[in-house]
């Protein structure tokens, strides 16, 4: 491991996506460093999810590039890689947490199988080892390991989301993408999940890009924040700085429109 490498993990340069004549996002640039959590906020339709899909190599950008520093220190443009390489990266070094856990899980397969899938995909062939690893991960995301053989269908929404996180983290990724990880959960479950996420990300030194429209989530999880509007970045900086002292009128509006309890 190159623990001392100071170069950014992910470099985004001039990333643009057009859906025909419709703009997805335009000229997005930023760097993401190891262990850093970046929040992307903005209203619906501002290009957050488009950006996330471009970053995670699921959708090809119209122009611009996503450059990733691999474990061996070499630097590669995600869209210049061969497809098997990209898919391998996506299964091992990266994680993707969907808003809807059903998209990120195999609903007909037990929790253990869900967590173990990535391990088997990278060549683990020892049942006991896979199962132990799955158990310890269920433990870490606070799911009772007695439920290892139950399918996610029998899980509550919060448990599904936690299972999805375990499934992604089992290969010790360096970078994880999250699309509204707490969307659709009730507030107490949200708080618990956020707590868990913050701890895991800090413990494992994972870099993360979190898309959210909930500024509280951004505040809790992220070091830096990007505010998007109409497909472009309008403000970026340290999360506390941006949220405490927003300079753009739109960000001011966003911050002031949080409902007080």
């Amino acid at each position: 491991m190159t623990g001392t490498d100071e170069r950014p993990l992910l470099t985004i340069d001039g990333l643009t996506k057009w859906y025909g004549r419709q703009l997805g996002c335009r000229d997005v640039d930023f760097d993401l460093y190891e262990g850093e959590v970046m929040a992307v906020v903005g209203e619906s339709g501002s290009g957050k999810s488009t950006l996330l899909q471009l970053l995670s190599g699921q959708m090809e950008p119209s122009s611009g590039c996503v450059v990733y520093r691999q474990r061996d220190g070499s630097i590669a443009d995600v869209w210049q890689m061969s497809e098997p390489m990209r898919r391998f990266l996506f299964r091992t070094d990266w994680g993707y947490v969907h808003q809807d856990a059903q998209l990120g899980l195999r609903m007909g397969i037990s929790a253990g199988g869900n967590v173990g899938e990535r391990l088997m995909a990278v060549g683990w062939r020892n049942y006991a080892a896979i199962r132990d690893s799955a158990k310890s991960w269920l433990d870490r995301v606070e799911i009772d390991s007695n439920r290892i053989d139950d399918t996610p269908r029998t899980y509550s929404g919060g448990m599904r989301q936690r299972l999805q996180i375990a499934r992604n983290l089992v290969t010790a990724p360096r970078l994880i993408f999250m699309d509204e990880p707490t969307g659709g959960l009730d507030v107490s479950v949200q708080a618990r999940l956020l707590d868990l996420l913050r701890r895991l990300v800090a413990d494992l030194n994972i870099a993360a890009v979190v898309v959210t429209h909930d500024l509280a989530v951004a505040r809790l999880l992220s070091n830096r924040i990007i505010v998007m509007k109409a497909g472009e970045i309008i403000e970026t900086g340290l999360t506390d700085q941006v949220l405490d002292d927003p300079s753009e009128p739109y960000t001011q509006l966003l911050v002031s429109s949080i409902l007080p309890v």
Partner: protein, 292 residues
Amino acid sequence: MTAPVYNFAYLDEQTKRMIRRAILKAIAIPGYQVPFASREMPMPYGWGTGGVQVTASIIGPDDILKVIDQGSDDTTNAVSIRKFFSRTAGVRTTTATREATVIQTRHRIPETPLTEDQVLVYQVPIPEPLRFLEPRETETRRMHALSEYGLMHVKLYEDIARHGHIATTYAYPVKVAQRYVMDPSPIPKFDNPKLTDCPALQLFGAGREKRIYAIPPYTPVVSLDFDDHPFEPYRHDAQCELCGAADSYLDEVITDDNGSRMFVCSDTDYCETRRATGKGAQQSAPATEHRS
């Protein structure tokens, strides 16, 4: 009544050439599912339309055909297909494994070892081993192309998690020539070890799914497993009650309403040959065993 006149072996020559091209491709890439323009056959899907098309394309006037259904030569499916070819191609048919040059099979591999002069044609209902794990055909094709086969082990994992052992007993997934994961059609996993290094050419035809694949002679075929849960062929712990064979795959036959049952060889030719050469079990009345 005037019988309709068919081309030799029912299919027209152009169709046979098309199928032969698919077969050649399949042999060139062991375990890879080659799409082909499957034809309507005068029998329902599920009765071996894929196997029949493959057989029709490779059979010649000098060939001797054997057809088995679950090891048996005398079930409807086997009898009908044998009749079909003796009528449309006028070829000789047989029930003796040793004599046959082309053997079409549904869900078994004969017990008698095959030779280089034989071709084994399987009838395949579902050629895609990943089907029930990943329903998108576009995705499974990509997975084959990139040999992303982690998912196949998820299925075996689920088996062990649920039953304590790999409970898949038929259509047990194999890896052919260290490359493609293949569904060997629903043969019992007892037969899996016979797939590897087999001197005979093995062809698989799926009519409804329009796929042909193959295992060329002497190709390594490995059944997937875990290090700590290795592949084990399954066999009832009994002897055949007709011929006394202790090494053949057995069918369990219920003989009355009181739970009496007997085990007999699933391969009828193997069983009959053994009995004809005097290897029969003690010729007592059909030995039955009562369940208390």
